[in-house]
């Protein structure tokens, strides 16, 4: 007779209470960044220049805007997962570890939202 609850058996996560979600998230966002990152390198090499006007023209082009949005969202997610593992490995002491993990999440979310706001603002010419 199993002492595990029906819900626990369905979730199949065991005592670690965590599955392969982190692993899959890291790999899929990595593959996404492989494509988006190479596009960004191509974009840097083909941009006419880095003056303010040229930056606005580049960021404001619809396809560039969409790809930049995908880039910063995917990058924030991938970076958040990576820094999380680094903190879990090297920061000892429960309180400091938890605080570091929360600060990292907040910082990544803040940067992503700031970048999203900027791209949309420029794209809409507001």
């Amino acid at each position: 007779m199993s002492l595990r609850t029906p819900l626990g058996e369905v979730l199949g996560l065991g005592s670690a209470k965590d599955g392969t979600g982190h692993f899959w998230g890291q790999r899929l966002s990595g593959i996404g960044l492989l494509i988006l990152g190479l596009w960004f390198i191509y974009a840097i090499l083909t941009i006419s220049g880095f003056t303010h006007a040229e930056a606005l023209t580049f960021i404001g082009a619809p396809l560039n805007g969409v790809l930049l949005l995908l880039l910063v969202v995917t990058m924030s997610y991938h970076s958040s997962l990576g820094v999380q593992v680094v903190i879990e490995d090297y920061v000892h002491g429960h309180a400091l570890k938890l605080a570091s993990l929360i600060i990292s999440r907040f910082a990544h979310t803040f940067l992503a939202v700031a970048a999203i706001y900027a791209i949309i603002k420029i794209g809409l010419g507001a």
Binding site: G30, I44, V72
Partner: protein, 125 residues
């Protein structure tokens, strides 16, 4: 924990430093470096939205010797993390773990990252 003179398992310092260890450390280091670089990327986009003056100030920081060195570092970090990331994806399929294969792919990825970084700066010059 008493040792009682028992032999200890050989630890890190006793082995010859393998290239695969360098790659593992570099993968993590370049990842963390780019997490810091994400601040600059988000800052570049945000300052562009803020206006011409803020943007010019941001650009003047990047246009210093330190700024250029950081940008070169981040470009190497990008090409290294990307190439070694593909190496990790191949490992995820269960292939490439033999010692000779892992060593060969390590050197290949390291050289590829250096060549791609050099090509990038050559092309952007």
């Amino acid at each position: 924990m008493s040792n009682n003179g028992r032999p200890l398992s050989p630890h890190l310092s006793i082995y010859r430093w393998p290239i695969t260890m360098t790659m593992s450390i570099l993968h993590r280091a370049t990842g963390v470096a780019m997490s810091v670089g994400f601040i600059v990327l988000a800052g570049w986009l945000f300052d562009a939205a803020m206006g011409a003056e803020t943007y010019a100030a941001m650009l003047s920081y990047l246009d210093t010797m330190v700024g250029k060195l950081l940008l070169m570092g981040w470009s190497f970090a990008f090409f290294f993390h990307l190439s070694n990331g593909v190496r990790h994806l191949v490992w995820d399929t269960g292939r490439g773990f033999e010692k000779t294969t892992a060593n060969a792919s390590a050197w290949f990825v390291l050289l590829l990252a250096i060549v791609l970084t050099a090509l990038f700066w050559w092309a952007s010059a």
